[in-house]
């Protein structure tokens, strides 16, 4: 027998190593906190006084994920403006990829001095940040009045204004206005039959009506917002599914799934396995008329060379008296860390972000609408979609779920019906998953 210099035996020590490597998530989990019983953050009991402009001289950290099209350039301009206004102040901009931010930022904020000011996603992340006591009460700060008050209520609790949403997105289909005109559609459809008729006209021209990234975790569920907004009996339908008051097997959701089946001929082939990149390519090249994601992809389509005029539209799933014509979402929820050592500078920076000038810089630099009052949208696409700010829209239902897994169970049902499962069976499978997740949460 030959002697192996490369000893293939896994020794006991190596075995332990392998087990350690295998349990890498265990390590991550266990390192999440030194002890669950020693919460390191305690929210301040009362709202702090308004910041003192004469004492804005600390160094603060801004924790956020990248948005829009410029990565860090726009925020760098804003920070430069702030530091010029307050020469003693300094802001570090810590940008973390959005998926990582969603998964791990709670641990980072709880266990480090990072994020004197931080952003949060609406839904489960904001809820968990609140539960963890991360937020300073911003009630009574003068800059609150610079924001449109109707957008603030969802982020207040017990009389305290904990977060301030900064960005407003339209989670509706992005459409190619030239193709709509080409098929004679000069006004947007406001009925289900009208929407299907529009899709037929587009398809008859050899163009894919809807590019849906059904294989993309970050984008596949956006379509669900529009599909349920008029079908569900209540606006907080997904919150009620989470609590068990409504079921995925209810008639309204079965109807929604049947409408997904009706849409199937209008999606690109094999849509449930398509990532967002190829869908963007289809849309930007004019081979698809609509992109079923959100207005945040307008800039991405432009970067791929799309020059045609664009707008946003939602499929209205009823034929009369629709309650909503579109969907918006509030995100980039700004908060000041309750345990910050530089509250005055942090509040001053939040005040600066609430001013029309910096807010406009951010909006036009990152191609997103903001919640600050009277901002001028100078970018063509922002100006074109701003009309939706005054139309009947619903706050995106998907983010009513605190659990990502529950939200995913609903969209998996839609994927299943598009792949051939019956709506009733897909709904039953979704409800089974939700029941199991509720049992885990109740344990």
């Amino acid at each position: 027998m030959p002697h192996f210099e490369l000893d293939p035996v896994i020794s006991r020590r190596s075995l332990l190593g392998l087990m350690g490597a295998g349990g890498i998530s265990v390590v991550a989990a266990a390192c999440g906190s030194s002890s669950p019983k020693s919460a390191s953050v305690s929210p301040k009991s009362s709202a702090p006084a308004a910041f003192d402009p004469s004492k804005v001289n600390g160094t603060i950290d801004l924790a956020r994920w990248p948005v829009g099209s410029s990565s860090t350039g726009t925020m760098a301009k804003i920070i430069a403006g702030f530091e010029a206004k307050y020469p003693g102040a300094k802001v570090t901009d810590t940008v973390t990829a959005s998926a990582e931010y969603q998964s791990t930022e709670l641990t980072v904020l709880r266990n480090s001095s990072a994020g004197d000011i931080f952003t949060a996603f609406r839904g489960g992340q904001f809820t968990s940040f609140v539960d963890a006591g991360l937020y300073m009460d911003l009630s009574g700060q003068p800059f609150i009045n610079n924001f449109q008050s109707k957008y603030l209520t969802s982020f207040a609790s017990g009389g305290k204004q904990l977060g301030i949403p900064y960005l407003l997105l339209f989670l509706m289909f992005v459409y190619n206005e030239s193709i709509f005109e080409k098929v004679g559609e000069t006004t947007l459809p406001t009925t289900w039959d009208g929407f299907l008729s529009l899709c037929d006209k587009i398809k008859s021209k050899g163009i894919t009506p809807i590019a849906w990234p059904g294989g993309d975790a970050n984008n596949r569920a956006q379509i669900m917002n529009s599909m349920v907004m008029n079908n569900a009996p209540v606006p907080d339908m997904f919150a009620e599914i989470q609590t068990g008051k409504l079921k995925a097997t209810d008639a309204w959701f079965i109807k929604t799934l049947k409408q997904f089946v009706e849409l199937k001929p209008y999606f690109e082939p094999d849509s449930t396995g398509t990532a967002v990149g190829p869908c963007l390519e289809l849309f930007a090249s004019g081979k698809a008329a609509m992109l079923a994601t959100g207005d945040y992809d307008i800039a991405a389509a432009r970067s791929l060379g799309a020059t045609f005029p664009m707008g946003v539209v939602s499929p209205v799933t009823v034929n009369s008296n629709p309650k909503y014509l579109g969907v918006y979402n509030l995100t980039y929820i700004l908060g000041v860390k309750a345990s910050t050592s530089e509250p005055n500078t942090a509040l001053a920076f939040l005040d600066y972000l609430s001013l029309r000038g910096p807010a406009g810089t951010f909006a036009n630099g990152e191609d997103d609408h903001v919640t600050v009052k009277n901002v001028d949208y100078t970018k063509r696409d922002l100006a074109a979609t701003a009309l939706w700010l005054n139309k009947p829209t619903i706050l995106a239902p998907n983010y009513q779920f605190d659990s990502v897994e529950m939200g995913d169970a609903m969209i998996q049902a839609a994927i299943a019906v598009v792949n051939g499962t019956s709506p009733e069976a897909a709904a039953a499978a979704a409800q089974k998953t939700i029941d199991q997740l509720r049992a885990q949460a109740a344990a």
Partner: protein, 311 residues
């Protein structure tokens, strides 16, 4: 050499090497302390904490939690379709990767085991994907696998197979095998190197003797190469098994978080549960995951001993 000198050397060999000036063993033990501390802090301690968390309902951030016994484990095995689905996918992925990677790597190694320049160049080329980040590979393959205009379907179209239209990641039944294909493509080069190392350890005299006895190339492969390469086969199979179970980055890159249910595997399921603020439950999933990998490693040790004994 005198008999006396010879006996002194033999005596020293029996006693073992002469002790160094460092003195007794406890001083030598100090050299182990840093490694033990690092290993204890980074592996042993978190693992023990994970056992603790796995019997709690801690969400990962609140100041209170309850010990709930083995409820998490009971739910995992009796009332968690997502976990069962991920376990099934992990097993399918593992079996597919082990079979494809082992067979392909062995075949390539047989062809490339000689040390001529062209073989070395080809081995380097095959090895190249292994040095790429799995995330980059996953990103590239989203475009290869794209059903509409993706490289794969374009290839079939270009060679005249216009009726072939695949939806690799959209298929409920086969998506996980397409993921296995990417994994095998990326790491087959590594396994080729292991096989080449194994093949080059086999003494040439055995082949010469077999050849003199009239054995054909095929019989040499069967009766000389096969038994002597078995330890390497076991090693490769074990590495690929563990790699397949840990194909986290690949699935995450191809399908995001949470991954589509047709490609969700145990490692991605743990992250999804963790990100959903169910740290206690995620810890229970991690313990199960760790035990599975530990079991594979133990079985590998036993199998390896058996194959060594047999060969």
């Amino acid at each position: 050499m005198s008999k006396l000198t010879f006996e002194r050397i033999a005596s020293q060999q029996r006693r073992g090497p002469r002790r160094s000036s460092l003195g007794s063993g406890w001083k030598l033990a100090l050299f182990f302390v840093p490694a033990v501390l690092v290993y204890g802090f980074l592996v042993i301690y978190p693992t023990l904490r994970a056992f603790q968390y796995s019997i709690t309902n801690w969400n990962g951030y609140s100041s209170n939690y309850n010990y709930i016994g083995f409820t998490n484990f009971r739910l995992l095995f009796t009332e968690d379709g997502l976990f069962t689905n991920a376990l099934n996918n992990s097993v399918k992925l593992m079996v597919a990767v082990v079979i494809v990677e082992t067979i392909v790597a062995f075949g390539l190694a047989v062809l490339l085991s000689n040390n001529i320049r062209s073989s070395r160049v080809v081995r380097s080329v095959i090895f190249f994907p292994a040095i790429l980040s799995a995330v980059s590979v996953a990103f590239a393959f989203t475009f290869v696998y794209a059903p509409d205009g993706g490289l794969l379907n374009t290839f079939f179209h270009d060679i005249g197979l216009t009726s072939v239209h695949l939806d690799p990641l959209g298929s409920n039944r086969y998506a996980i095998y397409w993921v296995a294909g990417v994994q095998a493509w990326q790491y087959v080069g590594e396994m080729v190197l292991l096989f080449v190392a194994g093949l080059q350890q086999i003494p040439l005299e055995l082949y010469e003797a077999a050849s003199i006895d009239g054995a054909s190339r095929l019989r040499q492969l069967r009766h000389v190469t096969r038994p002597l390469i078995m330890p390497t086969v076991v090693l490769v199979a074990t590495f690929t098994m563990i790699q397949a179970f840990q194909a986290f980055q690949l699935v995450y890159g191809l399908s995001g978080n949470p991954p589509a249910s047709n490609v969700d595997i145990l490692s991605t399921r743990i992250l999804t549960t963790f990100a959903d603020s169910k740290l206690g439950y995620a810890a229970a999933e991690s313990i199960v995951f760790m035990l599975i990998i530990g079991t594979i490693a133990i079985l590998q040790r036993r199998l390896l001993r058996a194959t060594r004994g047999a060969s």
